[in-house]
Amino acid sequence: MKMIIAYINPFRLNEIRDALREAGVTGLSAGNIQGFGRQAGHTETYRGAEYEVEFLPKVRIEVLVDDSLAPTVISTIEETARTGSIGDGKIAVLPLEDVVRIRTGERGVDAL
C-alpha cells in the first residue's frame, strides 16, 4: 500500500477530489499549508513597510491506496492539478505498512 501526498493549488481541490472519486478512491484528507518553492511569493505592504512573503497558500492532500491503484491516483492528480504554470506542485509516494479502519477494526487493503 502507498500513502500518496500531493501539494496542489487550492483552487484545484474540488476537481481533484471528483476525479479521484471517479478513479475509485474512496477517501482522502486535505489540509492547508504554506508552500515554498520555485514559484515566487508576493509583496505585502503595511503602512509603508514592504515585506516579501515567500510562502504561498497551498493544499496538501493525502491518499491511502492499494498498490494497484497507486499509478492511477498519481496520474489522475497529475492531470487534474496541472495548469502548466510554475507552482502546480508535487506528488510524493511513501510506503505504507498498514491501515486500520477505526469503526470496524478492519486492517490492510480492506480498511481502505
Partner: protein
C-alpha cells in the same frame, strides 16, 4: 433655528455615515477571504471620493436652484459650496429650523452610500482604480441629477413648476434616488463586467457571516437616521418614520426566513440579515407616508419578493454577486409601488390608491420606470467607456490569487503567527 431639530439632524447625519462601514462589513463578510479587504475598500473609498465630488459639484447639481426652470438639473450656484466654500461660515443660515450645512452634510451621507451599495454587485473582480473613477463620475452624472429630479425641485418630485411635465412621485428617504438607482446601476455594471471565474461551477461561500450579521445590525441602527432623519425635523413625522422603519425591517426579516424554511427547509442567518436589509430598503420611500401596520405589509412583501428575486440572476445569468438587484432594485420597487397604494394624507400629506388617489400609484409607476431606465442606461454607458479605456476587470490570475494581495498588497487575516 431649533436646537432640537439641529441635534436630531446632526445625529442622523452621523448615523447615515456609519451605514457605509456597516454596509462594508455586510458585503465584506459575504465574499471569500482573499477578497475581503478589496470589498471593504470599495465601500470605504466612497466616503472619500463622494465627499469630494459632492462638495465640489454634486450638491450644487442636486440642490441649488433649478437651472432654467426645466426641472432637470441644479444650477451651479453652490459649485465648490459657492460663497460658502472658503471663508464664510456655512452653518448659520437657519431658514428651516437648522443650519444649511446640516442639510448639506446629511445629503452628502446619502450620496456616499448609494454608489457604495453598487459595490456588492461587482465583488471579487473589479479593478480598484476603475471603481474609483466609476463612482466619481456616477455620483455626479447619475446620482446628482436623480436627487435633483426627486428631491431638488426637479420634474419627478414636482407636479408643476417645471417646464417638463411633473410626475409628482413621492420618495420619502430614497427608494428611487438611492435604492432603485443603485440597483439598476448594479445590473448595468455587472452586464459589462461579466461573471466571476467559477460562478455557478464552484462553491463560492461567504467567508465570515458574523461580519455580515454585524453589518446588518449597523445598517439597521443607521437606517433610523436615514429614514427618520428624512423628516428633516425631530417631530411626529420623524417618529412615524422611525416606527415604520422598525416594523418593516422586523417583518421582512421574518418573512425572508419563513420563505427559506418553506423553500429550503432551513432558515439561515444570512437570510435574516438579508431580510432586514430588504425591509429597510422597501420602507425607505414610504417611511413618512404610511401608517405602522401598512409598514408591516410592506415589510412582508419585501421579505417574500426580494427572496424570490434572488433567482433572477440564475434565470437570466448575470453574476450580481451579492444580490444588489434582488435586494435594492426589487426592494426599492416594492416600496415605491406599495407606497402608491398605502400612502395616506393624514400621515404624510399624500393619499395613495387605497385612500382614494389612484393616480398616485400611476405616478409611482412612471417614476420607477424613469429611474430604472435612466440609471441603467447612463451607468451602462459609463461602464462601457471605462471598460474600453482603463478596463473594468482584474486579470484572471489576479482574480484567482485574490484582490487583497494583488490590488492592495495586504492580507485580510494572518491568524496563525
Amino acid at each position: 433655528m431649533d436646537t432640537g431639530h439641529t441635534a436630531w439632524l446632526l445625529t442622523c447625519s452621523a448615523l447615515v455615515l456609519f451605514m457605509t462601514p456597516g454596509l462594508a462589513l455586510f458585503y465584506g463578510g459575504m465574499v471569500r477571504g482573499r477578497n475581503v479587504l478589496a470589498m471593504l475598500m470599495k465601500n470605504y473609498v466612497a466616503m472619500g471620493v463622494v465627499t469630494v465630488t459632492w462638495i465640489v459639484i454634486g450638491y450644487s447639481l442636486a440642490f441649488s436652484g433649478d437651472a432654467g426652470g426645466l426641472g432637470l438639473i441644479g444650477d451651479l450656484e453652490f459649485f465648490a459650496l459657492g460663497e460658502l466654500g472658503f471663508g464664510t461660515e456655512i452653518g448659520l443660515d437657519d431658514g428651516e429650523g437648522y443650519p444649511d450645512s446640516v442639510f448639506l452634510v446629511f445629503q452628502l451621507m446619502f450620496a456616499i452610500i448609494t454608489p457604495a451599495l453598487i459595490s456588492g454587485a461587482i465583488a471579487e473582480r473589479m479593478k480598484f482604480t476603475s471603481w474609483v473613477v466609476f463612482i466619481a463620475i456616477w455620483s455626479i452624472v447619475v446620482y446628482a441629477p436623480m436627487a435633483h429630479w426627486v428631491w431638488g425641485g426637479g420634474f419627478i418630485g414636482s407636479t408643476d413648476g417645471t417646464e417638463i411635465p411633473g410626475v409628482g412621485a413621492i420618495d420619502f428617504a430614497g427608494g428611487l434616488v438611492v435604492h432603485i438607482n443603485a440597483g439598476a446601476a448594479a445590473l448595468a455594471l455587472v452586464l459589462v463586467l461579466g461573471p466571476r471565474l467559477g460562478w455557478r461551477s464552484e462553491i463560492i461561500r461567504p467567508h465570515s457571516l458574523p461580519l455580515t450579521v454585524l453589518g446588518a445590525g449597523i445598517l439597521w441602527f443607521g437606517w433610523f437616521g436615514f429614514n427618520a432623519g428624512s423628516a428633516l425635523a425631530a417631530d411626529g413625522a420623524a417618529a412615524n418614520a422611525f416606527l415604520t422603519t422598525q416594523i418593516a425591517a422586523g417583518v421582512a426579516a421574518l418573512a425572508w426566513v419563513l420563505s427559506e424554511q418553506v423553500m429550503h427547509g432551513r432558515p439561515t442567518t444570512l437570510g435574516f440579515a438579508s431580510g432586514i436589509v430588504a425591509g429597510l430598503v422597501a420602507i425607505t420611500p414610504a417611511a413618512g407616508f404610511v401608517s405602522p401596520l401598512w409598514a408591516g405589509v410592506i415589510g412582508l412583501a419585501a421579505g417574500v419578493i426580494c427572496f424570490a428575486a434572488l433567482q433572477l440572476k440564475f434565470r437570466f445569468n448575470f453574476d450580481d454577486s451579492l444580490d444588489v438587484v434582488a435586494v435594492h432594485m426589487v426592494g426599492g420597487i416594492v416600496g415605491a409601488l406599495l407606497l402608491g397604494l398605502f400612502a395616506e394624507a393624514a400621515i404624510g400629506g399624500v393619499d395613495g390608491a387605497f385612500f382614494g388617489a389612484a393616480e398616485q400609484f400611476l405616478r409611482q409607476v412612471i417614476s420607477i420606470v424613469i429611474a430604472v431606465v435612466f440609471s441603467f442606461v447612463a451607468t451602462y454607458v459609463i461602464a462601457i467607456i471605462i471598460d474600453r479605456t482603463m478596463g473594468l476587470r482584474v486579470s484572471e490570475d489576479e482574480e484567482r490569487r485574490g484582490l487583497d494581495i494583488t490590488l492592495h498588497e495586504e492580507q485580510g487575516y494572518v491568524l496563525t503567527e
